[in-house]
């Protein structure tokens, strides 16, 4: 699991030694060329890497502007190309909520922790939709960006990260709708709402972790693309969206936390609607599983990264 050989490293050389020998610029070169003090100090080393390599997160950080521009592009293009635009962000969770309320709420009389069933399910559907979309987007991102991968170098991690982050805009819009729904039903958010960002982060790390795995696999095996909708659907029913996790008794409820989205969904309900008790041990297990998926996904991604340009 160690970095056996350095692969490509960009490192600043000692400033004095590099600047001294730079040939003088010809006179009359445009002024814009002059102020690049650190430019000559960059040394790029290229050598083969073997096995597991370091994540080089600092490099991703250096490319944060690119990350921003890619997110911005995704958001912009989406709203430019679709007629309904912003409405899509709302339509998906709302329509699912209506269907769930009809079939599970009215017909099946599913318990909903003493909450109105529409609010109960929407509070889960909003983070779930974010998760499912981020998962789908990031899984498909590498193959979708093959023209970039084959033509320009940048840390490839930027691609799935940006693809999954773009969904945050949709989430925010859907979240506003959820707040309106709560107002309509006369439910005020509890103080626990300050923990909400933590649950959102948990949903994000899970989706990115799975997305990293799947996007790297998708480059090698295009089958992955077809398994995603199917997998997401199964995962949705394995997550307490249409039903409460209080149907389970301890310790099974805690075990349920092995599905990180169970922790997220129950966390959202608890923070927003005050339903049930604080999902203590369950959320810890969810967080641990999520971090495991994210780390393993990131390392797997980096390991496969060198072959992306050749295979995609």
């Amino acid at each position: 699991m160690t970095n056996v050989l350095p692969d490509t490293v960009e490192e600043p050389a000692t400033p004095g030694s590099a600047n001294g020998d730079v040939p003088p610029r010809p006179q009359g070169a445009p002024a814009a060329l002059a102020p690049r003090t650190d430019a000559h100090d960059v040394v790029t080393r290229i050598a083969p890497s073997r096995g597991w390599v370091s994540l080089k997160l600092h490099e991703v950080w250096e490319y944060r502007e690119l990350l921003f521009f890619l997110i911005w592009r995704d958001v912009k293009v989406r709203y430019k190309q679709t007629v309904l635009g912003v409405l899509w962000a709302i339509l998906q969770p709302l329509s699912t909520m209506v269907v769930f309320s009809l079939f599970f709420g009215k017909l099946a009389k599913m318990p909903s922790d003493e909450l109105p069933y529409p609010v109960f399910s929407l509070a889960a559907l909003v983070p779930w939709t974010f998760f499912a979309n981020a998962l789908a987007q990031s899984s498909d991102s590498l193959v979708g960006s093959s023209n970039l991968i084959k033509k320009v170098y940048f840390p490839r991690l930027v691609i799935p990260i940006s693809a999954s982050l773009a969904g945050l805009i949709d989430f925010s819009i859907a979240f506003v709708v959820l707040m309106c729904m709560m107002l309509g039903f006369g439910i005020a958010p509890t103080w626990n709402v300050i923990f909400l960002p933590a649950f959102l982060v948990l949903a994000y790390t899970t989706s990115l972790g799975v997305g990293l795995w799947l996007s790297a696999l998708n480059v090698q095996f295009r089958d992955v693309k077809y398994t995603i909708p199917f997998m997401t659907q199964l995962w949705m029913f394995a997550t307490p969206i249409a039903y409460p996790s209080s149907l389970l008794s301890e310790p099974w409820r805690t075990v349920y936390g092995l599905n990180p989205m169970a922790g997220v969904v129950e966390g959202f309900r608890w923070a927003l609607l005050g339903s049930g008790q604080a999902p203590g041990p369950m959320i810890l297990i969810s967080a641990a599983v999520s971090v495991c998926i994210l780390c393993s996904g990131a390392f797997y991604f980096r390991r496969m990264e060198k072959s992306f340009a050749d295979v995609v």
């Binding site: 610029r25 592009r73 293009v77 033509k151 320009v152 940048f154 095996f221």
Partner: protein, 421 residues
């Protein structure tokens, strides 16, 4: 030490044939491969096809043991045939793909230009694309802001900068894309055949900008088929052949060396040529240029010529046979293809199909020319031989009263008549 901008040592890149040909695999293939391939291998070995068994997992070196250094401010031209490893070298140096062996080091800010307009999105406006493309190429937002006006000026599209680029003409699109790249301002610029696109005016502009960059003491590594551009721009040239560096020296000498190697291959019959691309389902086994005097390889300007291509076997009637004539600078002069043309066909018993292309009046100016030949089908490239043959075009015989003069400038003779009143 620090006047070395690029160091390349023993650089190698190995590809597995499977990767190149099938590109991506399905999971099912991978799984079946694990179980089936040992049996297939064993079967082949049992039948005594050791080489074939080996080729099931064949890999090849697209780049092998390449070493060279580029000094700061040097403009290095990289030439070689298709598949010689030029693009692979560039992909390794730009870090798009990792080398399999060796080491390279680049000192200074590197910008690569393997294509203009990478990441351009048709739905976004010109302005938005400048920012997006700039950041993809490694510029910071502040840099782009600072150079924005310069970019728009260079591209000459100020009026349309807030129009989505899907409404641009291809010329505008290219100009904008190149303008972003041209303002990258790196210490080391790695450029692929980007100049092969666009019209002559655009190419002139690109070459001019490259010349500017070169004169500012930047280091440039320039991969091109345009031998004229290599001679004009580069101070030094290297020739790659089958992934190996075969020449390193002055640009003019490199070009000469490359042309010599093409001549040498052209002397080998197409059936024996190992340096071919394509799936090999059909192969070119004969190529001849037959002039009116009957001597192969000699053509007289203005007279009749027949190009004869023997292909074996032709399984599909939709197979397309094509060849291109190049001048000594490797500029394409003209292209002949059976695509969209009905070909009278007679199936020969031998299995060889003879395509012949009859040119009533061959009107290229006297000189030496080269031919590339390709066989294609709907499935892709079946066979392709670069420099399959060279031939000489001779001036018309003096005894014949010419109907028009052969131009001293340019490459084509158009039949014409003069009138003076």
């Amino acid at each position: 030490m620090n006047d070395i901008a690029i160091t390349v040592e023993d650089l190698g890149k190995q590809y597995h044939i499977g990767h190149v040909q099938t590109r991506y695999r399905t999971l099912r293939e991978s799984i079946t491969d694990v179980f089936v391939s040992p049996f297939r291998k064993a079967a082949l070995l049992a039948r005594g096809h050791a080489a074939a068994a080996h080729s099931l997992h064949e890999s090849f070196w697209a780049l092998r043991n390449v070493s060279f250094e580029v000094k700061r401010g040097e403009v290095l031209g990289v030439i070689g045939r298709n598949g010689a490893g030029k693009s692979t070298l560039l992909k390794v140096l730009t870090r798009i793909t990792e080398p399999t062996a060796g080491f390279a080091q680049l000192r200074g800010r590197v910008a690569s230009l393997l294509e203009v307009g990478t990441g351009f999105h048709p739905e976004l406006t010109g302005r938005e694309n400048v920012y997006l493309n700039g950041s993809i190429l490694g510029m910071t937002r502040r840099e782009i802001q600072r150079k924005f006006d310069e970019i728009v000026d260079f591209a000459e599209i100020a009026k349309f900068i807030d129009t989505p680029v899907k409404h641009y003409s291809s010329g505008m699109y290219l100009r904008l894309a190149f303008a972003v790249a041209a303002n990258l301002d790196p210490d080391i610029l790695l450029v692929d055949e980007v100049l092969a696109v666009g019209d002559a005016e655009f190419q002139r502009k690109c070459l001019g900008k490259m010349g500017d960059v070169a004169s500012q003491g930047r280091t440039i590594l320039f991969v091109s088929h345009n031998l004229g551009a290599v001679q004009g721009l580069c101070t030094r040239g290297i020739v790659l052949s089958n992934g190996q560096l075969t020449f390193d020296g002055a640009a003019t000498n490199a070009v000469q060396e490359y042309l010599n190697s093409l001549e040498k291959s052209a002397a080998i019959g197409p059936a024996e040529r190992p340096d071919r691309r394509g799936s090999g389902v059909s192969r070119v086994v004969g190529f001849d240029v037959v002039g009116s005097n009957g001597i192969p390889g000699i053509v007289v300007c203005g007279e009749r010529v027949e190009f004869v291509i023997d292909v074996v076997p032709v399984v599909d009637h939709r197979v397309n046979c094509a060849f291109t004539i190049y001048d000594q600078q490797s500029n394409p002069i003209t292209h002949f293809t059976t695509r969209n043309v009905s070909v009278d066909r007679e199936d020969r018993a031998s299995g060889t199909t003879r395509f012949s292309c009859d040119v009533g009046q061959f009107l290229l100016v006297p000189g030496r020319y080269r031919v590339n030949v390709a066989i294609q089908s709907d499935e892709g490239l079946l066979d392709h031989i670069e420099s399959v043959m060279s031939f000489d075009v001779l001036p018309p015989e003096v005894s014949v009263q010419p109907r028009y003069s052969i131009p001293r400038i340019g490459q084509i003779v158009l039949p014409h008549g003069w009138n003076a009143q």
